[in-house]
């Protein structure tokens, strides 16, 4: 993939110790509060159909293209997520239903903030859990070890570990190469330690990406990423993981889940994009998926009952997907709290039976190998007994 001359020194070293290769965790944030009950459909629960007379996804088989894709006789995927079914069947995709935050807020702003900081109810946390989840850096760690696809660094990735926001691999450069070299020389000769260091990280990342920028990228296995920002983010994360440039954690987000009205069309479009993006990523990575886990999250779920404008309002629990080569897939984890009136949270929303941090802690600890969970999720009582078993032992 690299010309030997172009590879920065740390890469040569990283490659020479490839046995110590680190795992990768990719997080996907569904901003706007996805409707978990129509994403992973409890079709075996008659109450679901009472609560959602116009919005419910039909039982499997009842209406071919529009009905739920059966997973285990009780739950099914929204038909627009059909692309994930083969991955579920190969046991590389797990679902944890009724997950969420112990904090009751129904504010997008606060709930996203809490989910990214990793400290529900605590606004004073300054950094994000995904930054804290990084292992202590290797002696010469990659400038791309913590990577966000997008214009800015998300809350989740901010903190003391260097993290890079890359909007587009192709744009991650100084526009003309002569100037790039001059800038690099100016920064490298600067006596200003802060800017010299930042410049070094930057140009190492630039150089690394330059090699990658030059090659046209063809996803493997005929993987077809959907058009749009999310698909491009997943495509570039896959490209960098496969290029072996030292990515340890990566972040992508996808918006448009706040479906207060005319939900069916909007949700279907979003799910198609999400499902195809994840499925293409899985196919593209192929065997490399053994070291990679992907997890989805959304700030809260939506009301169990549909509202008066063919939509749903802000609710509580949601569903999370976990995908990877070493995942206990082909299963729906967690406890199903039920949809009867008295089972609903504040009589209106799906109740949370799995703290989102139970899922993330298990991934951080058993997948990434960082066991300092109390530092990653301050205030959370780390306890392996709470883990749902999404990571294969």
């Amino acid at each position: 993939m690299f010309g030997i001359g172009a590879a920065p020194s740390w890469l040569a070293r990283a490659a020479s110790t490839s046995t110590g290769r680190r795992k990768v965790l990719v997080t996907i944030f569904q901003r706007g509060a996805a409707d978990g009950l129509n994403v992973v459909v409890p079709f075996g629960e008659p109450r679901y159909y009472e609560l959602r007379p116009t919005l419910a996804v039909p039982k499997p088989g009842s209406d071919a293209a529009n009905s739920a894709v059966d997973l285990n006789g009780f739950f099914g995927l929204h038909p627009s997520l059909a692309s994930l079914k083969p991955i579920y069947d190969t046991k590389a995709l797990a679902i944890v239903h009724a997950t969420g935050s112990p904090d009751p807020t129904r504010s997008h702003f606060d709930a996203q903030d809490y989910m990214e900081a990793g400290t529900p109810g605590m606004k004073s946390t300054r950094d994000g859990w995904l930054n804290r989840a990084l292992l202590p850096p290797a002696p010469k760690s990659s400038p791309l070890r913590a990577l966000a696809l997008g214009q800015s660094l998300p809350r989740m990735l901010r903190g003391k570990n260097p993290a890079v926001a890359v909007n587009n691999i192709v744009d991650f450069q100084v526009r003309d190469s002569a100037s790039s070299e001059m800038f690099e020389s100016m920064y490298s000769r600067s006596l200003d330690t802060v800017l010299k260091g930042a410049g070094k990280d930057t140009f190492e990342a630039v150089k690394m990406l330059k090699t990658i920028q030059k090659e046209s990228y063809t996803p493997a296995g005929g993987a077809a990423y959907p058009t749009g920002r999310f698909g491009q983010s997943m495509r570039q994360i896959a490209q960098l993981i496969k290029a072996n440039v030292g990515v340890e954690v990566a972040f992508a987000d996808i918006g448009g889940w706040d479906t207060h009205s005319n939900q069916p069309f909007a949700l279907s479009a979003r799910l198609t994009e999400l499902g195809q993006g994840m499925a293409a990523f899985y196919k593209d990575l192929g065997d490399s998926m053994a070291d990679v886990a992907v997890v989805t999250m959304s700030e809260f779920g939506r009301t169990a009952k549909e509202n008066g404008t063919r939509g749903t309002d802000h609710g509580h629990a949601n569903a999370m997907f976990v995908m990877g080569g070493a995942i206990n897939g082909g299963a729906i984890h967690g406890e199903w709290p039920g949809l009867q009136q008295e089972q609903l949270y504040e009589s209106r929303d799906l109740a949370v039976t799995t703290d989102f941090r139970d899922v993330l802690s298990e991934l951080v600890s058993n997948h990434l190998g960082n066991h300092q969970i109390s530092a990653v999720f301050p205030g959370y009582q780390a306890d392996a007994k709470k883990y749902r078993g999404v990571v294969a032992a």
Partner: protein
């Protein structure tokens, strides 16, 4: 480390501060005892108290005398405002409007829907043109809400315009397009905007005049005009205001009392917030600013206090509301005492209870502060050891503010934060103590606190010299000022700020944007600075006009460097081969320009 041996090494004097900066790690505050050379003082003052020097500024400060120049900046009302700025601000009419008037002119989708769904005709403005705009937009929103298709009645360009006009819009004559659209009646403009294919619409917006951009927004998404004006005004003032220190301070205090523009109603509350609750007090009394922000609907909404009510009696009704601690916590942690200011969770709860009932009248329609006695927690509270007796009302919150402004932690916290912006990321404790003493003795008079800082040896020390990394706003504004660029559309320029990591008014966290280096030195942001600098000096930044030939007139690379850095600095040999405009871009994107 002393200066003499360094000179013997033949290092240029301009490198001294950085060496010293590096050396300071061992003994962090010793360099704040070392005086700054007199020749550096005017530039230092300009770097710290303005958004960067313009050509001629250093000499102007020297000529006026440093003391007099600083004194004038501390009394902005005595400085005549730059007429160029006033002319550029004049069309931005939302800046002077009260919130309800602003909403009548530039209604939100929520207001328009309330009108169309519930027939609330009283919501609509009386003015016939504004009324027509609101009715047209409400109709279009309603269509979008009811039907599957957004614009079923969308017409093609050919149906809306004559063939000659269509040819202009599809052609390459940008001025012709601007003229045609500017003269169009608003309803026709809205229909044309909807009919334009995206590949025509986007460049048209980017390349059109500020006036037309605004008109396009008003015709299609009027609430965007409010955000447009805010962005424009912020950048225009940073670049053009003669009252530079005032602008620096408005930016500082807005971030101290940060409100996130994209949180719901704050989209239309920030204009009056900054204008009425921040700007008037930046050189006034801290307690007045604190009270103004505490009662401002923008803050009440942002930190949820408007919904916070006394806990209802048991058993709780379904969906019953209760106490919300958000504002109380940030008030103590970020606005006054600081995180180590000596308060407990119990204090936060007590403070939250004192502020129950501080709410917003008619929040969707831009109403102001209101105290609702019915939801106020009337029981006794103890805040930081002070008992606030049962049976109180609005005055409970006022008492809390009084306790907080008089608390020694507040004096220290505010002084430290100011010193961090103006002196160094890690300011000397002795300076903070002197500033805090002034704060306490002068009743939190911020002009007096600034004076103590600006009279201090630490401010005028080698430890302070070039010790700060510019924020993206400071970087962009200072580059524009240094190169004499003209801002044609600050709104488009605001996109650049986003690339650099500081979208204006859009810091989601209540902390506001940081003034310390760590926040701004990530890779993507650094690359964005370099690319901005190269594009700027080669006149390729949309919204900005620079004359690249100005750099050729300067001559040698060293002269170009001095023209943008305002100080002598060595220019690396490899830069000599580049064209003058590119050399200027390299210097502006280089490490030295990132400091102030």
């Amino acid at each position: 480390m002393r200066a003499t041996p360094l000179r013997k090494l033949l290092l240029p004097t301009f490198l001294l501060p950085v060496l010293i900066f590096a050396a300071a790690k061992n003994d962090p505050f010793r360099l704040f005892e070392k005086k700054l050379g007199g020749d550096k003082k005017p530039l230092h003052a300009l770097n710290r108290l303005t958004f960067g020097p313009r050509p001629g500024d250093v000499d102007a400060v020297r000529k006026m005398g440093l003391k007099k120049w600083i004194d004038r900046q501390l009394h902005p009302e005595r400085i005549p405002q730059n007429p160029e700025l006033l002319a550029k601000l004049q069309p931005l009419d939302t800046l002077q409007m009260s919130t309800p008037v602003m909403l009548a002119h530039y209604p939100t989708p929520q207001l328009l829907l309330a009108f169309s769904q519930r027939g609330r005709a009283d919501i609509l403005p009386q003015d016939p043109a504004l009324r027509a705009r609101a009715e047209r937009l409400a109709e279009s929103l309603k269509r979008r809400r009811d039907g599957q298709n957004a614009e079923p009645a969308r017409k093609s360009l050919d149906q809306l315009l004559d063939p000659e006009q269509v040819a202009v819009l599809r052609g390459t004559d940008n001025q012709g397009k601007i003229r045609l659209l500017t003269e169009m009646p608003e309803d026709q403009l809205a229909a044309v905007a909807a009919a334009l294919p995206p590949n025509l619409r986007r460049p048209l917006f980017t390349n059109s005049s500020s006036g037309l951009q605004r008109k396009l927004l008003a015709a299609t998404t009027p609430q965007q005009v409010i955000i447009y004006d805010l962005n424009e005004a912020k950048l225009l003032r940073a670049v053009y205001s003669s009252r530079q220190l005032e602008e620096v301070l408005v930016d500082f205090w807005y971030n101290h009392f940060n409100v996130f523009l994209d949180k719901g109603n704050d989209r239309f509350l920030v204009t009056s917030y900054e204008r009425d609750s921040i700007r008037p007090y930046v050189l006034g009394k801290f307690k007045d600013m604190l009270l103004a922000t505490a009662q401002d609907p923008a803050m009440l909404f942002y930190l949820d206090n408007w919904q916070s009510v006394a806990p209802p009696p048991e058993p709780r009704r379904r969906n019953a509301r209760g106490l919300n601690e958000n504002y109380a916590r940030e008030l103590l942690e970020l606005h006054t005492l600081g995180v180590d200011g000596g308060y407990t969770q119990q204090d936060i709860i007590a403070v939250a209870r004192c502020f129950t009932g501080w709410t917003i009248r008619e929040p969707l329609r831009g109403g102001g502060f209101e105290f609702n006695d019915r939801v106020h927690d009337k029981s006794e509270k103890v805040v930081l050891g002070v008992t606030i007796p049962a049976g109180g009302g609005k005055e409970d919150g006022l008492k809390v503010l009084e306790i907080l402004v008089n608390h020694p932690s507040t004096a220290r916290f505010i002084s430290r934060k100011l010193a961090q912006r103006f002196v160094a990321d890690d300011p000397p404790p002795a300076l903070i103590e002197r500033m805090a003493k002034t704060f306490r003795e002068k009743d939190g008079d911020l002009r007096e606190v600034m004076k103590t800082m600006l009279d201090s040896k630490e401010f005028w020390s080698q430890g302070a010299w070039r010790g700060k990394i510019k924020s993206p706003l400071e970087m962009i504004a200072s580059a524009i000022r240094a190169t004499g660029a003209e801002v044609e559309s600050a709104f488009i320029l605001a996109n650049q700020l986003q690339q650099l990591g500081q979208p204006l008014y859009r810091k989601m966290e209540p902390t506001g944007y940081s003034t310390v280096a760590a926040e701004w030195t990530n890779s993507a942001a650094l690359l964005a600075r370099m690319n901005f600098a190269l594009a700027l000096t080669q006149n390729r930044v949309p919204g900005l006009k620079v004359d690249p030939s100005r750099f050729e007139k300067l001559g040698a690379p060293a002269a170009i460097s001095k023209a943008v850095l305002f100080t002598d600095a060595p220019v690396a040999k490899d830069l000599h081969e580049a064209k003058p405009a590119k050399i200027a871009g390299l210097i502006i994107g280089g490490p030295e320009f990132q400091r102030r």
